[in-house]
Symmetry: C2
Subunit: 331 residues, 2 copies
DNA sequence: CTCCTCTACTGTCACGTGTCAGTTGGGAGG
DNA sequence: CCTCCCAACTGACACGTGACAGTAGAGGAG
């Protein structure tokens, strides 16, 4: 007794006593076909009885393209903050009658193999793709839309978090600001614009040039590494009194380092992060941070994506991602 | 000038001056077919020139099943810890010549629509599926493999983290232990076994029954909520001196609450988390936590999955997930 | 010359779907 | 009674692939 075969529209047709075409018309609700209610019900009942599910591959083949959107994340560790973006995008794409799935990989064996098992009608990239992956998508005629957080669309976008951090710190009276960026190769496209934004804010507020240092990110980030930088900044003739950090992880490590060094936060050293991660409310003091309006961001990305899917010419008008400062105890 | 069509194996055949069958044999490297080297090279060159990519949908249709594995995550917020599991599984699945993609959703509009756009040969579930989703997969004849962290395979698995936490605290001389669990509906399947594990460890160490309390998780978790519980436990005639927390987020909030109440950690109150999240090294003091051996876990899950894919009878021998205690400053 | 074998291919089918162009049967109008 | 029309359906094709069965032609043995 072998496991029963999955039922097809032919099975449904046979059971309802109609042709396969009629089944297709009923199940796809085609308004231009005259189907009497009695037949309609018979087909629907048959489909229900056999628990018919259309075959996605056959559908995609027939239609010439799938209704699948692939979110590609190469190398960016997916924290809760990014996870919120994924959730929001999933909802947005579902509303459009398509489905979003995420492919992510930190290791080798990139996008290529995945694309032989999957043909999305569109890809959305969180970070940017390397040239090999980009060529792959071009060959397969799959359009790629960049989420644009790195400022690939408008360089000004990427500067916003850094600008907000320093503008806020300047408003609090800080003069010499330290920027704790990351040396990570993959994250550079996010990190560099933020530093530029911080510099611009300092300039605009009439502050001296901020001091910039790099620490590792991800698992490699250690409190000790931050401590070394803070010690250097403290011993400066004009000591740093406030730090704008690359993200909340770096900010948390900075608070920990300051605490270990006997520096009070925010009294001796103010700290600002980016991402509004959940844990940022549980540090002591809780972190002031820069938060992305996730639903609005997802809507914006999807609007651009649909523009591409609909084959419309030109670029979709691009709204800058909306960031805001979340004021907590660390500044 | 319309955008050129994606090339098919027929295009390659035409360009190489052979039949489509020959192209298929060459590109799939079939050893049982005699193809002279000259022809082989001609076909490969043609494929390269046209940057041919096989159509995944057609392949899946012809093969009767895709080579796509769907990781389903309904409701569990995906932190860096889980993200590591995803990465490890992606690598494992890729090694087997298949591809893993993640579908996740917190909102409504469940798995159903996604399955009409996608037909995986297998699904792996992180949490468990609700009955509706389970029925959906059964109808579509898609096998589902549970990752098993919730103890769906062996109830003992789910108890391990709780057991490790309390066993460790007992070894440090703590007698009255508090268990800070979660009231979240979706997480119950993880939370309850952990509490059971904690109880068992207390029993085995000759400790009195632990005190158990629930706090919200996710965005709803606040330091204040934890503070309320800690105050109650402190005022107990036999005060709680150590807390086993549901995860590192709860543990971080507990450290923050204790700090706000003037309790020294670990002097007045020891705290242990679960998950070894990255931020756990940046709290003050850094968190003692329970860590999962992610690569081993991914290998185990994939071994069970392959057992199912190969259609082998019975159950794959199941290894318990390997957890270990990471000793830091909070206990 | 015939028969057989072996290499190097090719023609054709099937997978499950959506859709177009037909085709049937019955009723209304002349 | 014949014609026309329309509602209600059906037959057949195409999508791109993998694989089976089949075949043309060359070459060797008898």
């Amino acid at each position: 007794m072998e496991r029963s075969r999955r039922s097809t529209s032919a099975d449904v047709a046979r059971r309802a006593g109609v042709s396969r075409a009629t089944v297709s018309y009923v199940l796809n609700g085609r308004a231009d076909q005259a189907i009497p209610e009695s037949t309609r019900q018979r087909v629907l009942a048959a489909a229900r009885d056999l628990s018919y599910t259309p075959n996605a591959a056959a559908r995609a083949l027939r239609a010439g393209e799938s209704r699948l959107v692939l979110l590609v994340n190469e190398g960016i560790p997916l924290g809760p903050a990014m996870s919120r973006v994924v959730d929001a995008l999933t909802a947005e794409v579902a509303r459009a009658g398509r489905s979003l799935v995420l492919w992510q990989s930190t290791g080798p064996g990139g996008l290529g193999p995945a694309l032989t098992h999957l043909d999305p009608c569109l890809t959305i990239t969180l970070g940017s793709l390397d040239d090999a992956a980009r060529a792959l998508l071009a060959d397969a005629r799959i359009p790629a839309v960049d989420a644009g957080l790195g400022g690939d669309l408008d360089p000004a976008d990427g500067e916003i978090p850094g600008w907000l951090q320093v503008d806020h710190l300047a408003g609090r009276g800080h003069r010499h600001i330290g920027v704790l960026s990351t040396g990570d190769r993959v994250l550079r496209r996010f990190a560099e614009p933020r530093v530029a934004g911080a510099r611009r804010a300092a300039r605009e507020s009439g502050l001296p040039e901020p001091s910039v240092a790099q620490v590792p990110t991800g698992e490699a980030l250690s409190v000790g590494a931050v401590e070394t930088v803070l010690a250097r900044w403290r011993d400066d003739p004009d000591p740093v009194t406030a730090v704008a950090c690359y993200n909340d992880y770096v900010a948390a490590a900075t608070v920990a380092a300051a605490t270990r060094m006997g520096l009070a936060v925010p009294g001796d050293l103010a700290v600002v992060g980016v991402d509004n991660e959940q844990f940022s409310r549980y540090t002591s003091p809780p972190l002031t941070t820069v938060s992305l309006d996730t639903p609005a961001f997802a809507r914006e990305v999807w609007a651009r994506a649909q523009h591409v899917l609909d084959g419309l010419p030109g670029e979709h008008p691009h709204d800058a991602p909306r960031f805001s400062l979340v004021l907590r105890g660390s500044s």
